[in-house]
C-alpha cells in the first residue's frame, strides 16, 4: 500500500486540482455580470455539479480499473441506448437535441458516451497479440467509435463529435498503427479544408509531395495520394460554389450551430479584445469589463478562456496552459509506465481527448480556429461536461494508483 503511495503521481493530482480551482474561479467571475442578471445562479449550479463530480471522481478512481475493463461492453451499450434516446425524447434547444431533462436537471449524454467509447476501444485494443495494422483488428474499433460519432452528429453537435476521432487516432497510434498512414489518410480532408484559401492550398500540395518523397512511398501509390488530394481540393470549392448562399448557410449552421450568428466574427473579435486587454498580468479578479459590456453571451461556456485572459493576463493564461501541459505530459508518461495495457490505452484516449479540446477551444478564443462550440475542460461552465471531465480525471488517477497492476 505504501509503495502505491510512493509511486503515486502527485504531480498529476496537483495539475488536476489546480485546473479545478482555476475553473471555479473563472466561472464565478463570469457569473458576476450586472447586464445579465440571470447569470448569477450559474456559479451555484456549477458548485453543485462540482460536488457531484468530485464524488464521481473518487468513485472512478477507487473502483479498480479492472472493473471498468470487465464491464466496458455493458457501459458502452447503456451509453449508446441513452445517446440514441436523446434523438427521440431529448429537449430541443435552438434546433438541436442534445439534452435529457429530469426535473430541473439537464444532462448531456454525448459526453459520457464518448468516455464509454474510449473504455470499450481500450478494451478492444488490449486484447493479446493484437495486430492493429490488420483490418480484422481495426474494423471493430472503428465501428465502436462510428456508432456514437454518427449519433452525436445527428443531434447535431459537430464540435462534441469531433473529439471522438481525436481520441481514437491517439489510441490507435498508441496501439502501433503507423503514424504515417494516419497522416496520409487525413490528407484529402486537409486538402478539402485548405482548398478554400489558395495561398494555403498550393504550399500544402508542395509540402505533401516533398513529404511523400521523403518517406519513400512507391511512385504509383504516391501519385494516387497526390491525385486524390488534388481532386478533393478542386472539387470542394466548385461543389460549394454551386450551392445557393442560403443553402451554404444552412449547411454551416447544421454542421455548426454555435457559429457566429452575426456571421461577422463578432464574438471572436470581442474575445480577442478581452484577452489582449489583459496584457501581462491582467486586470485582476472580477475586474474584467468586456464580459459585462460585450455581446458575448457564451463567455461562461465556450469563451471562458477570454475571462482568464482579461482578468489574469498572459501570466494567467500561460500558467493554465502549463497545468494542461503538465496533465498531458504526466498522462503520457503514465501510459508508458502502466503495466496494464487497458490502463495505458484508457489514459492515452483520455489525454488525447483533453488535448484536442484544449487546442481547439483556446485556438478559437484567440482567433486561430473557427467557432465550433467545443468547451474547455475543467474551465467551461456546464454540468455534464464538468462531471465527465472529473470522471476522466478519476480514471487517470485510478491507473496512476495501480500502475503495477495488470
Amino acid at each position: 500500500m505504501s509503495r502505491r503511495f510512493r509511486q503515486f503521481d502527485w504531480i498529476l493530482l496537483f495539475s488536476i486540482l489546480g485546473l479545478i480551482a482555476a475553473g471555479m474561479t473563472l466561472v464565478y467571475s463570469a457569473s458576476q455580470v450586472p447586464a445579465y442578471p440571470w447569470k448569477a445562479g450559474l456559479f451555484t449550479r456549477q458548485t453543485m455539479w462540482l460536488v457531484i463530480g468530485l464524488v464521481a471522481l473518487f468513485t472512478a478512481a477507487a473502483v479498480p480499473f479492472r472493473f471498468w475493463e470487465e464491464y466496458s461492453h455493458l457501459i458502452y451499450g447503456v451509453a449508446m441506448v441513452v445517446l440514441a434516446s436523446v434523438l427521440v425524447i431529448g429537449v430541443e434547444r435552438e434546433g438541436a437535441r442534445r439534452w435529457l431533462s429530469f426535473g430541473g436537471f439537464q444532462f448531456q449524454p454525448s459526453e459520457l458516451a464518448k468516455l464509454a467509447t474510449i473504455m470499450l476501444v481500450a478494451r478492444l485494443l488490449s486484447r493479446p497479440r493484437l495486430d492493429i495494422t490488420k483490418l480484422s483488428a481495426l474494423l471493430p474499433v472503428l465501428f465502436a467509435a462510428l456508432v456514437p460519432f454518427v449519433l452525436i452528429l445527428l443531434e447535431p453537435d459537430l464540435g462534441t463529435s469531433l473529439s471522438l476521432p481525436a481520441a481514437l487516432v491517439g489510441m490507435v497510434f498508441w496501439a502501433g498503427f503507423p503514424g504515417v498512414v494516419i497522416l496520409i489518410v487525413a490528407t484529402p480532408l486537409l486538402s478539402t479544408l485548405l482548398s478554400f484559401k489558395l495561398w494555403l492550398w498550393v504550399p500544402y500540395l508542395v509540402l505533401l509531395l516533398v513529404f511523400l518523397r521523403m518517406i519513400g512511398v512507391k511512385r504509383l501509390l504516391g501519385g494516387a495520394i497526390a491525385v486524390v488530394n488534388l481532386a478533393a481540393g478542386f472539387a470542394a470549392p466548385v461543389l460549394w460554389g454551386t450551392l445557393h448562399p442560403y443553402q451554404q448557410q444552412r449547411v454551416l449552421t447544421m454542421l455548426n450551430p454555435e457559429s457566429d450568428p452575426t456571421n461577422s466574427g463578432y464574438q471572436v473579435i470581442q474575445s480577442k479584445i478581452a484577452i489582449g486587454s489583459g496584457g501581462l498580468a491582467g486586470k485582476g479578479f472580477l475586474e474584467g469589463t468586456q464580459k459585462g459590456l460585450a455581446f458575448l453571451p457564451e463567455q461562461h461556456t465556450d469563451f471562458i478562456f477570454s475571462v482568464l485572459g482579461e482578468e489574469f493576463g498572459f501570466i494567467g493564461c500561460v500558467l493554465v496552459l502549463c497545468l494542461f501541459a503538465l496533465l498531458i505530459q504526466r498522462s503520457v508518461r503514465l501510459a508508458t509506465k502502466a503495466r496494464s495495457r487497458f490502463g495505458a490505452y484508457l489514459v492515452v484516449g483520455i489525454a488525447s481527448m483533453i488535448m484536442f479540446h484544449v487546442a481547439v477551444n483556446v485556438s478559437m478564443t484567440v482567433g486561430l480556429a473557427p467557432v465550433t462550440g467545443l468547451p474547455l475542460p475543467f474551465l467551461s461552465y456546464g454540468g455534464t461536461f464538468l462531471l465527465v471531465t472529473l470522471i476522466q480525471s478519476g480514471l487517470l488517477l485510478n491507473v496512476a494508483f495501480r500502475r503495477n497492476e495488470v
Binding site: P34, A40, P178, T262, Q270, Q290, G313, C317, Q329, V348
Partner: protein
C-alpha cells in the same frame, strides 16, 4: 513499412515522444499567439476595451397585433415618442449638480414632477451606457418643446419607439390585457434572452397568455461607442442581426358585437332605490356550437393605453382604487347564480322522478315553512298550484324549496357535479376562478353545525353557491347544446394557423329531461319572467335571476340562448347590486340579442317586448329568504 508490436518499451517511448512533440507544438503556437495578443498588441486591445466598446444596440422586434374574428384591429403597434436622458453625458462629467439642474428645467418645461425622472433613472441603474427613457408616450407638443430647447438641455433627446396602442380604448380591456416593463424577477427568470431592462411584457389578459406568440425577437446592430457613450468611427464592421416580428393573433371576438355588448352594459337600467353604485358586472356572449367567445366585457373598465404612457396620479388612483377596475369579473368574479341555477335543480328533480310535471303539483302560498324558519317565495301572495314546468317559468321558489327538502345538500351537489357547474372552463384567460357548490363536508369544515335548511337556499341558487359569469354562460350553452359543453376560448388563429376547437367532455344527461327544461326556458320568455326578450323575429330561451344580499341592492342575473330551436349563441349578463334580474339585466340581454340578430327596435310602444318601465314592478323577485 515496418511492423510494430505494441508492447515493447522502446516503441512506447517513441510514441510518447510523438505525443510530446505534438503537444509542444500546440502549446508553443498558443503561447505565441497569446504573446502577440497580450504583450505585443495588448496596449491597443486595452484601449479598445476601455475606450471603445462595440455596443449592441437592440433593434426591437415588432410585437404582433391582436385582431377580432374578421381581422379588425383590437391592439395595434404605433410609433411613439419618448424623452430620453443620458446621465453619463459629457456635460455632467465635471459637475454632477448640473445634471439635476437639467432635469429640473426639463420638468418645468413639460410640467412634470422631477421625482418621476429620478425614479426612472434609479430603476435603470446598472445599465451603464443606455440612455434612459424618462418620459414615455410624449405628445407632439412635448416633443417640439424639447426639440426647441435642446441646446439648453444636454443629455436630453427624443427617441421614436413602437408602442402598443388599443384603438378602441377600454373596449375588451380585461380580455386584451396590457403590457408593462419587465421587472428584475422577469429578467432573472428569462434565459431565452428575449427581455432586456426596459422591454415590455404582457402582464394581463391575452397579452399575457399569448406573450410567446405575440412578442417579437429583438435584432441587434452594433455601434462603436467611446467611453462617454457617444458614437465613434466604426473600427470593426459588424453586420446587424435583423429583428423578428411577433405573430398576429386573431380572436373569436366580434368587434361589432363586443361594442354592442359594452354599450348595452353601460345602458343597463338601474332597478333600485336611491343612487346607483358604480356599475360592476360582466356580460359574455358565447357561440354554443364552437365555444368561440364572441363578446366579453367586465365593468368597471379601464383604458389599457394608460400603461403605454407615463401614468398620472389620478389614473393610477382609479386603476388601483376600491372599484377594482382591473379585476376581470367575467372570469374572476364569483357570484350566486340565483334562479339561473334552477334548470340544474329541475334536472335533479325530474331525473329522480321526485315529481312528474303532468300530475304532481305543489301548492305555493307565498310562504314555505321549514323547521322553525319560513322561506318566502318572491311572490308574496303565492303562485297557487305549480308543477315543475310552470315553477321554472314563473320562477316559483316554493316548488324548489319542496324539491330541496327531498334532495338535500347532497342531492343538489350531485346534480351540480353532473353539470360540472363549478369547474373551471379552461378559457385562455389568466386567473379564471372555480365556482363552489358546497358539500355537507364543506359545511362541516366551514360552519361546524349547520341546518339542513341551507339546501333550500342552494335550490334557488343562493346561499353559499358561487359561479363565475363564464360558468353561468357555459352552463347555459350546455343546456342549449344537448349536454355538449363547449370549451370557451378566445384564440382563433396564430399567424394564419387555425387554433383547434376543443370540447369539454360531454355531460351525460337524459335528453328527454333536457327537452323539458329547454321548453320551460322558452316558456319563461313567452309567458314567464323573461318576456323582455320575447321577439317576433327569433325564438329565445332565457332565465332571469335575482340574488339577495345583505350589502345593498340585489344582484341581477340573466342568461339566454337563441334561436331556441337551433341555438347559435348563449349569453349571460350579471350586474352587482343593480336590482332585479328581469328589470336590470334583462334589457342588457335584450340589446345584445337584438344586435346579434339584427333586430330593429320597434317604434310602436305596444309591440315593444316588455319595456324597462314595466319591468320595474317586482315581477321577478327570486328567492328571498327570511329567518324568523
Amino acid at each position: 513499412m515496418r511492423r510494430r508490436s505494441s508492447s515493447s518499451p522502446n516503441d512506447r517511448q517513441g510514441r510518447a515522444v510523438v505525443f510530446g512533440v505534438l503537444g509542444l507544438i500546440v502549446f508553443s503556437v498558443l503561447v505565441g499567439r497569446l504573446f502577440t495578443l497580450q504583450m505585443v498588441h495588448g496596449e491597443r486591445a486595452l484601449v479598445l476595451s476601455e475606450k471603445n466598446w462595440l455596443k449592441p444596440e437592440p433593434i426591437p422586434g415588432r410585437r404582433g397585433r391582436i385582431l377580432d374574428r374578421s381581422g379588425k384591429i383590437l391592439a395595434d403597434v404605433v410609433p411613439s415618442f419618448s424623452i430620453v436622458f443620458d446621465p453619463q453625458h459629457e456635460a455632467f462629467k465635471k459637475k454632477s449638480e448640473y445634471k439635476e439642474q437639467v432635469l429640473n428645467e426639463l420638468a418645468v418645461l413639460l410640467n412634470h414632477d422631477p421625482k418621476q425622472y429620478e425614479d426612472a433613472i434609479y430603476r435603470n441603474r446598472g445599465r451603464s451606457y443606455h440612455p434612459i427613457r424618462i418620459h414615455r408616450g410624449a405628445n407632439e407638443e412635448e416633443v417640439s418643446r424639447v426639440e426647441e430647447n435642446r441646446p439648453n438641455l444636454p443629455g436630453v433627446s427624443v427617441e421614436v419607439d413602437s408602442e402598443r396602442f388599443y384603438p378602441h380604448g377600454s373596449l375588451a380591456a380585461h380580455t386584451l390585457g396590457y403590457l408593462r416593463e419587465v421587472n428584475e424577477k422577469d429578467l432573472k427568470k428569462d434565459e431565452t434572452g428575449h427581455y432586456r431592462p426596459g422591454s415590455k411584457i404582457g402582464r394581463a389578459g391575452l397579452e399575457r397568455v399569448y406573450e410567446k406568440e405575440l412578442r417579437g425577437t429583438d435584432g441587434v446592430k452594433f455601434i462603436e461607442v467611446n467611453v462617454r457613450g457617444r458614437r465613434s468611427q466604426a473600427y470593426i464592421e459588424a453586420e446587424p442581426v435583423p429583428p423578428e416580428e411577433g405573430s398576429d393573433i386573431r380572436l373569436t371576438l366580434d368587434l361589432d358585437l363586443q361594442k354592442a355588448t359594452e354599450l348595452a352594459l353601460d345602458n343597463a337600467p338601474f332597478d333600485g332605490d336611491g343612487q346607483p353604485p358604480v356599475l360592476s358586472g360582466a356580460a359574455i356572449v358565447l357561440d354554443v356550437r364552437t365555444g368561440d367567445v364572441l363578446a366579453v366585457a367586465s365593468r368597471p373598465a379601464y383604458d389599457p393605453n394608460v400603461f403605454s404612457r407615463s401614468m398620472s396620479h389620478a389614473e393610477a388612483g382609479y386603476l388601483f382604487g376600491s372599484s377594482r377596475p382591473m379585476f376581470n369579473r367575467a372570469v374572476q368574479g364569483k357570484y350566486p347564480p340565483a334562479s339561473t341555477f334552477k334548470p340544474v335543480v329541475m334536472y335533479g328533480v325530474l331525473d329522480a322522478k321526485l315529481t312528474v310535471p303532468s300530475d304532481d303539483y305543489v301548492y305555493c302560498s307565498g310562504r314555505h315553512k321549514y323547521g322553525n324558519r319560513v322561506f318566502r317565495c318572491w311572490k308574496r301572495t303565492g303562485h297557487g298550484h305549480m308543477n315543475s314546468f310552470d315553477s321554472m317559468a314563473q320562477s316559483c321558489d316554493t316548488y324548489f324549496y319542496k324539491a330541496a327538502e327531498i334532495m338535500g345538500v347532497t342531492g343538489i351537489r350531485a346534480v351540480s357535479e353532473r353539470f360540472r357547474v363549478y369547474e373551471k372552463t379552461g378559457i385562455d384567460l389568466p386567473g379564471e376562478k372555480a365556482g363552489l357548490v358546497p358539500t355537507p363536508k364543506w359545511y362541516d369544515e366551514n360552519y361546524g353545525s349547520w341546518s339542513r335548511g341551507v339546501a333550500l337556499n342552494l335550490s334557488i341558487g343562493q346561499g353559499e353557491i358561487e359561479m363565475t359569469p363564464l360558468q353561468m354562460v357555459t352552463l347555459t350553452a350546455a343546456v342549449a347544446n344537448k349536454g355538449k359543453r363547449p370549451k370557451p376560448h378566445l384564440l382563433a388563429e396564430v399567424n394564419g394557423v387555425q387554433a383547434e376547437i376543443e370540447f369539454n367532455e360531454p355531460l351525460e344527461l337524459d335528453e328527454r329531461i333536457m327537452r323539458t327544461i329547454r321548453e320551460a326556458l322558452e316558456f319563461t320568455v313567452t309567458d314567464g319572467t323573461a318576456k323582455v326578450v320575447n321577439f317576433e323575429e327569433v325564438k329565445v330561451a332565457a332565465k332571469t335571476g335575482t340574488a339577495e344580499n345583505s350589502r345593498g341592492e340585489d344582484h341581477a342575473a340573466f342568461v339566454a340562448y337563441a334561436p331556441a330551436d337551433n341555438p347559435e349563441i348563449a349569453l349571460v349578463v350579471y350586474l352587482e347590486h343593480w336590482g332585479h334580474g328581469g328589470a336590470a339585466a334583462g334589457p342588457v340581454g335584450r340589446d345584445i340579442l337584438m344586435a346579434y340578430f339584427g333586430i330593429e327596435p320597434e317604434p310602436d310602444p305596444e309591440a315593444m317586448p316588455a319595456p324597462a318601465s314595466a319591468e320595474s314592478q317586482p315581477e321577478v323577485l327570486a328567492g328571498e329568504s327570511y329567518e324568523e
